[in-house]
């Protein structure tokens, strides 16, 4: 049995689900950010697997991954600033404690 495209895709799906789970269930905002990074990693893995197995001559997948990296970096930078702000105003970094807006 050889390692095929679907193996990578299944692994990506699992990683995506785990990332989503982290983003949804962890209270700490930084941990939520980690979950989002895992989800983005899963998508990047998908892209590179497709690239390798289906379009090794094409460039779009790699460009997409670069964009994915950029977005991840941007979100990390901005996200941490947002968390810092939350900490300043609420004295906490737990996402679920900032729930004054509702209804």
């Amino acid at each position: 049995m050889t390692v095929g495209l679907s193996h990578y895709l299944i692994l990506g799906a699992a990683l995506f689900g785990l990332g989503a789970l982290a983003a949804i269930t962890r209270r700490n905002a930084v941990a939520v950010l980690m979950g989002v990074e895992l989800m983005l990693n899963a998508a990047n893995l998908n892209f590179l697997a497709f690239w390798r197995y289906l379009t090794p001559q094409g460039m779009e997948a790699q460009v997409f991954v670069i964009i994915g990296f950029t977005v991840a970096a941007a979100e990390a930078a901005l996200g941490l600033a947002v968390v810092l702000n939350l900490y300043r105003d609420f004295g906490t970094v737990n996402v679920d404690e900032a729930s004054g807006l509702k209804g």
């Binding site: 049995m1 390692v3 495209l5 679907s6 193996h7 895709l9 299944i10 990506g12 799906a13 699992a14 995506f16 689900g17 785990l18 989503a20 789970l21 982290a22 949804i24 269930t25 962890r26 209270r27 700490n28 930084v30 941990a31 980690m34 979950g35 990074e37 990693n41 893995l45 590179l48 697997a49 690239w51 390798r52 197995y53 090794p56 001559q57 460039m59 790699q62 460009v63 991954v65 670069i66 950029t70 991840a72 970096a73 941007a74 990390a76 930078a77 941490l80 600033a81 947002v82 810092l84 702000n85 900490y87 105003d89 609420f90 004295g91 906490t92 970094v93 404690e97 900032a98 004054g100």
Partner: protein, 184 residues
Amino acid sequence: MSTLAVMGAFLALTVLTLFPAIMVISTRNVLHAGFWLLPCLIGVAGLYAMLDAHFFVVAQVLVYIGAILVLILFSLMLTRDVMNPKAPQHNGLVGVAVPICATMSAICALLLARHPWPAGPVAAAGAQDQTVALGRALIGTYALPFEAASVLLLAALVGAIVLAKAPQSEPPAAERIECPGGEK
């Protein structure tokens, strides 16, 4: 490399990726979760290597592990003193989120695995050729998304600076503490 060795390497990398991912979710200590992210990202870099995406192996290590992860760990340490170690680290949504995320993963995995993808890997170009081609693409066909991504980074930078910079006058400390739902 023999087929078996490839399979073995893949399985090892799978474990290296998924087990730390599970630990990121489940471990109580957030700082430990941050550290668990390291092997996970390294595992993904290994997978990139198996896919012959040499540039991205380096990029993964530099960008994710070198920059993002350090940023995350740094901010975890910055805010750690406010985290009560006895307070729950997970919200009440675990019971709902696990089935939903599991369903999502299962649907994705089943459908993607079932699809009749065109056969077999085609030989990939060497590392140097690949990188050259990527560089050309980024100033050629894909110049626009590349430039747009640079604007995106600029915007994120500007936004992060604005948000992170302390306001001129801090609100009084007393006001900060009595937040709704602050006492869990």
